[in-house]
Symmetry: D2
Subunit: 359 residues, 4 copies
Amino acid sequence: MSSTFGHLFRIHTWGESHGGAVGVVIDGCPPRIELSAADLQVELDRRRPGQSKLTTPRQEADRAEILSGVFEGQTLGTPILVMVRNEDARPEAYADMRDVYRPSHADYTYEAKYGIRNWQGGGRASARETIGRVAAGAVARKVLAKFGAGEVVGFVSQVHTIESKVDPFAVTRADVERSITRCPDPVAAEEMTRRIDDARRAGDSLGGVVTCVAHGVPPGLGEPVFHKLEADLAASLLSLPACKGFEIGSGFAATRLLGSGHNDAFVVEGGRVHTRTNHSGGVQGGISNGEPILVRAAFKPTATIRKEQDTVNREGEAVKLEAQGRHDPCVLPRAVPMVEAMVALVLCDHLLRQRAIAS
Amino acid sequence: MSSTFGHLFRIHTWGESHGGAVGVVIDGCPPRIELSAADLQVELDRRRPGQSKLTTPRQEADRAEILSGVFEGQTLGTPILVMVRNEDARPEAYADMRDVYRPSHADYTYEAKYGIRNWQGGGRASARETIGRVAAGAVARKVLAKFGAGEVVGFVSQVHTIESKVDPFAVTRADVERSITRCPDPVAAEEMTRRIDDARRAGDSLGGVVTCVAHGVPPGLGEPVFHKLEADLAASLLSLPACKGFEIGSGFAATRLLGSGHNDAFVVEGGRVHTRTNHSGGVQGGISNGEPILVRAAFKPTATIRKEQDTVNREGEAVKLEAQGRHDPCVLPRAVPMVEAMVALVLCDHLLRQRAIAS
Amino acid sequence: MSSTFGHLFRIHTWGESHGGAVGVVIDGCPPRIELSAADLQVELDRRRPGQSKLTTPRQEADRAEILSGVFEGQTLGTPILVMVRNEDARPEAYADMRDVYRPSHADYTYEAKYGIRNWQGGGRASARETIGRVAAGAVARKVLAKFGAGEVVGFVSQVHTIESKVDPFAVTRADVERSITRCPDPVAAEEMTRRIDDARRAGDSLGGVVTCVAHGVPPGLGEPVFHKLEADLAASLLSLPACKGFEIGSGFAATRLLGSGHNDAFVVEGGRVHTRTNHSGGVQGGISNGEPILVRAAFKPTATIRKEQDTVNREGEAVKLEAQGRHDPCVLPRAVPMVEAMVALVLCDHLLRQRAIAS
Amino acid sequence: MSSTFGHLFRIHTWGESHGGAVGVVIDGCPPRIELSAADLQVELDRRRPGQSKLTTPRQEADRAEILSGVFEGQTLGTPILVMVRNEDARPEAYADMRDVYRPSHADYTYEAKYGIRNWQGGGRASARETIGRVAAGAVARKVLAKFGAGEVVGFVSQVHTIESKVDPFAVTRADVERSITRCPDPVAAEEMTRRIDDARRAGDSLGGVVTCVAHGVPPGLGEPVFHKLEADLAASLLSLPACKGFEIGSGFAATRLLGSGHNDAFVVEGGRVHTRTNHSGGVQGGISNGEPILVRAAFKPTATIRKEQDTVNREGEAVKLEAQGRHDPCVLPRAVPMVEAMVALVLCDHLLRQRAIAS
């Protein structure tokens, strides 16, 4: 259960950062979707390390291999296995961490849970685990496209205290890819670049917010109770490393409005029902209403820093730790394809679920 | 799937607000837990309408009946069926809404999904659906207590712009129950009472935030990837009616800190590993670390207001709506037992999962 | 998990034979299926005790109440709760069994698993648990009918050593209901009646076989691997009380044929692909091929008999047991609606799953 | 869902016979179980083709590679990915089958379901899919051994009309491995060898029965209703290619006994409760009673034969087919490790489930 996500469009990720490989099984994909490794690679390249000076220098080509479920360029309806070999693993760099718990990492909790951990890198807690998600998200996007059920655009809307000033519903993928920060506001993007670079040089790290919009989602996707669209979206994003918060539509800001100011009036435009405002973020009662879906995910500053920190070792002794390893001073730019993938996976799953019961 | 929550400790809620009854099947509860209807009633009474001037005047005793799974005062290990009859249903009060979509309600989206809805009240989208959750949460609390695995205390930390000033880790249930607002800060509580009362008289509504702390959760509960403790907690709270946002630990505030200021240093105190700060909110890498778990849930202002609103009807014509029905001007006080129940359910499920694999 | 069956069309049964009530939550039913309590009652009346001299004299009207999920005669798409109160419970009749394990009953194993059991009747192991299945099966039949996806006819094909001589594909429901044995072969039926009556008078019991055919199932339902149609059918029938064996198509007889004699040649008839023989029982590679699906389920003789038996009590002492209680000398006639219900549930679930991915 | 088996100890198989590779993700395995690729290889070697003159001449070393979830010789508690490359694939041998439906194969039904199939071999319907199951079963056996919860021994008890004469509860693995037929009765084994060889030369095929016994399973494993141990065992075996029937304990033979002759009297021996006979096959009311568990699985004759057969092509034209390809004239000897693996997987899953709730 731990490594499974989705009910009908269902993925199972596997792999440690320093094991042989990482990847995913994608089960429940409809047949006859055109698919090639290149389709996955586009998204994996946006996620992979070493793509700019803002990201970890770990050199991983992250070449995806599809080992099942695709035949003559089309999905078979059977499980799709995607594998990416770990190439630039340097376990020796982690030798110091063998017996020491890195603050705000998963070292201590994995030991508490399992009594064992792969100390050569982050194991399952590494961001490399998200390779499988991003690959699966690329497949989900193709399914959504085939059934005309939505297009997902994420972007960095905040890094540390710097906020972008854009209309989230107007942002295009081209806008996002223009900057290595993946912030579509050029002024903020430049400032973010500097701030991240400063943090990197200082051996420190930064957090921020990814905003993600799904356009063209038909009304009726979602469920009334435990699998409300926002509940599944929240679970999907909080399952990403370093994510600490989630909002749909107005989010926490909703708490400071009156009901009369928050309610989204219904209007008819272009022959179909719309809402005048979109505080709901495209979802009402757990079900999509046809407006763009907007979610926001908060990411904490990367736990790995190059400054000396207080911690303890496995013997319960106080020790000082100065992490070496390679890491991103700010995960936000690389988090964008991860967030998009998770949103696409949720939508795709709910699309199939709705197809099952629709008349 | 829609109405099922949990993997080992698993609940299935059922019922519409104006159908015959609402309730829950609780499956996977360990045997030989002492349980009576009175245990459930304590929590249901905190949730039920009509308990104070701040809540809807709908008169529902919400008497829980246990129809299976308990024998001679103990759980059998078999499914526990809890039923509460709907008594004070007034479907005629909703006749006006038969063909009109209430803004920011689920009327339109249910029709889009199902092509039919029970217009006599909110159907499944009604807060009455949470009766089953609160009853199940009371059972989960007993399981947690039996295995010494945690105690859950939630409280109202914000209503509209009024914020409580308390140490969340020091709040007790007695502190919470002292005020009809369920805010443990007496000064803020009084202000909240006035503000809610003002909103009620103005026919308007308010939102706010519930903070919830789980004390005494052992290290090692949770999962590394999709069922990270925070992911399941987020899903559980976003599945509550009107919930728009979720935070664990430092949440969105984390995004404005440096890594060096956010990391929780490990220390040894009282013979076991602790963290000096708790920005992590008791969870690292998806797994509990033994510190108190802290989550926050944002609730929007109640969608039902007594002011005239623009909307459309099923024929796609613009109409004015002035809702009558009975409603809470602010759901926050009643949301506390709901939030606690969801947190208890998540912890109980993960407790059982951990027992399965622990040596 | 224990009490949940199905993936999209999903049921959760609950209730002990001597608790307050038994029933089922049916989740995932498509909306706008016409449904009333009377639809369920037809099937429940075929299942209930006391319907003929061949069945237990326990008097239970088994009146089904629908408490949610149906509105103005149609399903809402939300969970349907069906409840049947236990009326003719006589716990005192079981007082002797409080500390004694009835041979080939679940008394001992429930104690081994849970450390507690409801000794007033069979608890969850009672055939009363199947009330929920039969009610849910009636709903599944309506869904299948709406989507033109199959009609299920079961019958008693063997009691003890008496076998019916009929073409299973030609049997109609009317043929089945003609006899209290539910055997459509009048000669065998009469002999079965006598044999069952003899067993009853001797305080002994008989087993037998139910054969079940699903007509009109479209090609393409099922899954290639773990949820092969025959795997789900086998699980569904082996989950019935007293079921010891399962066959699809040629079953165990297949083992004595050569491949050249067993293979079903494909032919084109009436413009579509058929098979000349149907050793496959309508399923190839886990997926329906459009031919009638045929399964057989073996039921052991009822464990409760009125003869003295050797057993042990909770203290591990050898004791003699002469059960009183009320029981069926042969469960076969009442097993027919149970088998049909399980087959309908499996088909309905796979129908919805196929709708999700079909282009 | 299609390719997932198990609830806590959960496997996901993937791969086509002529895609790049086949394998499995094993999720939910407890941590700190000693595990190496060699542990898997022992079982894979019993399953692989080309191991004797009775099996297909396809040359596959079936070398298992573990790519995640194991560290320094121990399981991590995280998903274990096992991959086996397809080496001796000869897609050209299947060119004739591109447009022709092989009788009693899955060609037609896959097309009906998906509108596409990998015609280069059997795709997912190939017995190569069971590589993942057998590898996972080897892991399950290690978990069972660690927790002292059972040892699984399967054997061929029938081929065509030849039945072995052995006490199933006394058969050891050494007895089974003594003959290439995996029949522990030397006389029957020799006859089976001849009969299979005759069928091979005649271009025909044979079916048979595998009997499997689980020794040392503690009382209390299983569930009362839908996941009765026998229901999960039935599903697990009917999910194997070519399986047509299932029995637990007395199976279909139970139907010809009286209750007084079938009931298993309880006795106390060696300080614990036993049954005098074991018609129940080690399971009562869905839950293990501590006696050896006995199941039987019927396998039809291999569908691929070298004789000319009537069939149709994709255009619906009648054609003659004489299959070339490589195949087993009788799957029974290779089915033994598959059956054992499935039984071990079911027991391991239920073992973990019971650990979750036991006090």
